[in-house]
């Protein structure tokens, strides 16, 4: 990223360049062979790779850059067009209802690409769970304006999407309990009211849960969490903690 580009701000309708020299990224639109800004924010020019014959991508940043050091300089990830859940985005959700065939959750936050886990490279994000706690505890999370469950996007985890192995042996009560915080990946925008999530990956599943006694539990295996005070174990579909 070019130094000083962050200071340059665009407002909607501002002409950014021609499509002959740039390609349009998130936060922009094309009109009459020109790229215009669609939202207000800093202009980000992602330089083209020298090897590939591609144009630089011009986009308007929507997410707040946390700080310059942790900001990924070359993101190969899919561009983020808005703050809504899309297919393949990783979300944190709270379980609101557990039924025989499915669990209903309400989406608390859509994780940034930078905050999302990288399954192939776990050492890349060693503090992902700290990150989760930070996101859930910060009331001023700019992506989470809504506060009540009615204002949040609802999602379903179907029985067959809970885990990869022994799909037909899944008992939903032994996977999730109401109030658990679950990390899931969106597999479909679903119908008019629900998104569909999956937890069928090692890094997906319950990340925070309270025991029957009300204590915060720690994970002991992929299907068990334990209460540090009473020592009792409870069954969950646990996300790999690191």
């Amino acid at each position: 990223m070019v130094e000083g580009t962050l200071a340059k701000l665009a407002i909607p309708g501002q002409r950014l360049g021609s499509i002959a020299s740039y390609s349009a990224g998130p936060g922009t639109h094309v009109q009459n062979a020109n790229i215009y800004a669609s939202i207000a924010g800093p202009i980000v020019i992602d330089p083209a790779q020298a090897t590939a014959k591609t144009k630089s991508t011009i986009s308007i940043s929507r997410s707040i850059p946390q700080n310059a050091a942790t900001k990924p300089v070359t993101t190969k990830s899919n561009p983020k067009y808005n703050t809504l859940p899309t297919v393949d985005s990783v979300v944190l959700a709270r379980v609101t209802r557990v039924q025989k065939r499915q669990a209903t959750v309400s989406i608390l936050v859509v994780l940034d690409d930078s905050a999302a886990t990288h399954p192939l490279n776990p050492s890349h994000t060693p503090s992902d769970n700290d990150n989760v706690a930070a996101i859930l505890t910060s009331a001023a999370n700019p992506e989470n304006h809504s506060s009540s469950d009615e204002l949040r996007f609802q999602a379903l985890i179907r029985k067959e999407d809970v885990r990869v192995v022994e799909k037909d042996r899944v008992v939903m009560d032994e996977m999730f309990r109401v109030g658990d915080i679950v990390r899931g990946s969106v597999i479909s925008l679903g119908d008019q009211s629900f998104y569909y999530l999956t937890t069928a990956r090692n890094d997906l599943g319950v990340v925070m849960a309270r025991s029957e006694a009300g204590n915060m539990m720690f994970p002991v295996s992929w299907k068990e969490m334990r209460d540090p005070d009473t020592g009792l174990a409870e069954l969950r579909k646990v996300a790999r903690p690191f």
Partner: protein
């Protein structure tokens, strides 16, 4: 100040405020974003009060304020999930609500939205629908709520109702709503094609023998009668109009000899000019919003 003949010059009576601006000069606009922290986007807009108000305050002749100037607050909530009863929508579903505060106008407004308020809401929705890039926000809704704290007068309060009456103040209110909503939407970072600005022009007559003339951003209290008025929602960078509302009959109005345009054409051009003026204020307010947002990013606590 130009000398204008007025009907009501009885000694001791309150006098009608008079336009002291040039015919193409707008009132100053105060516009600020992000004043309501619980909303995802918000704005507050105020028009400059007429100088007659300051004059009446320093030398009061009557307890009734001579004119009123628009003040309104706009909040944007969303994008948020659609209600359970709604069907699947691949686009953003826009809802607009315009409500006068009970004390906003000289005649008290009820708590339930009346026909004129619903009408304003529909006009505002049309104006905004053409600007928002709705397909980027599937399955979500956007609520735009405008509270009018002080409305514009439809005519000078001392005038008796007559045949020239129409809710002229509503047109100024709509222009203000469009500009404020545009700022609030940009503040909420919803994708837009451009910043849409509202502008009003009117053909007014200041006496039986005075020739009708075109004025931008007219305050209805300042004129003896308004023949026709026009409000547009205009996107300057694309030179497109998303909403056009014309009231009255401007076709018979003969403008000055050197102006060959028809009445309605002149009105439309005037309204677009007024919207261009409002756009400069709007652009500055949105830039301020973006700076605040970027400043939050750079100066905010590191997590």
């Amino acid at each position: 100040m130009e000398t204008v003949k007025t009907k009501d010059s009885a000694p001791g009576a309150a006098t009608r405020p008079q336009r002291q601006r040039q015919s193409n000069e707008l009132r100053k606009i105060f516009l600020k974003t992000g004043l309501i922290p619980s909303a995802s986007g918000s704005s507050y807009l105020e028009f400059e009060p007429s100088p007659a108000l300051a004059a009446a305050r320093s030398t009061p002749k009557s307890l009734i304020p001579p004119s009123s100037a628009l003040k309104l607050a706009c909040t944007v909530h969303g994008p948020k999930p659609l209600p359970r009863s709604a069907t699947f929508s691949p686009n953003l579903v826009l809802t607009t609500h315009v409500k006068y505060a009970p004390f906003a106008a000289r005649k008290r407004k009820g708590h339930i939205r009346d026909a004129s308020e619903r009408d304003l809401g529909v006009h505002l929705e049309t104006a905004l629908r053409g600007v928002i890039v709705a397909e980027r926000w599937p399955k979500s809704g956007l609520d735009i709520t405008i509270t009018i704290i002080e409305a514009e007068d439809d005519r000078w309060w001392g005038d008796a109702p007559d045949s020239h009456d129409a809710p002229w103040g509503m047109m100024n209110v709509l222009a203000g709503c469009i500009t404020a909503a545009s700022a609030a939407i940009a503040d909420a970072r919803i994708d837009c094609l451009d910043l849409v600005a509202g502008g009003v022009a009117a053909i007014v007559s200041d006496g039986d023998d005075a020739a009708p003339r075109l004025v931008l951003d007219c305050d209805p209290a300042e004129h003896w009668s308004i023949l026709s008025a026009c409000v547009v929602a205009y996107m300057p960078s694309r030179d497109e109009i998303t909403e056009l509302w014309l009231k009255g009959d401007g076709s018979k109005a003969v403008l000055s000899a050197d102006d060959k345009r028809l009445g309605n054409e002149a009105l439309l051009d005037g309204a677009v000019d007024a919207a261009r003026g409002a756009h400069t204020v709007l652009a500055e307010a949105v830039r301020e919003s973006a700076e605040r947002y970027a400043g939050l990013a750079l100066g905010g606590p590191a997590r």
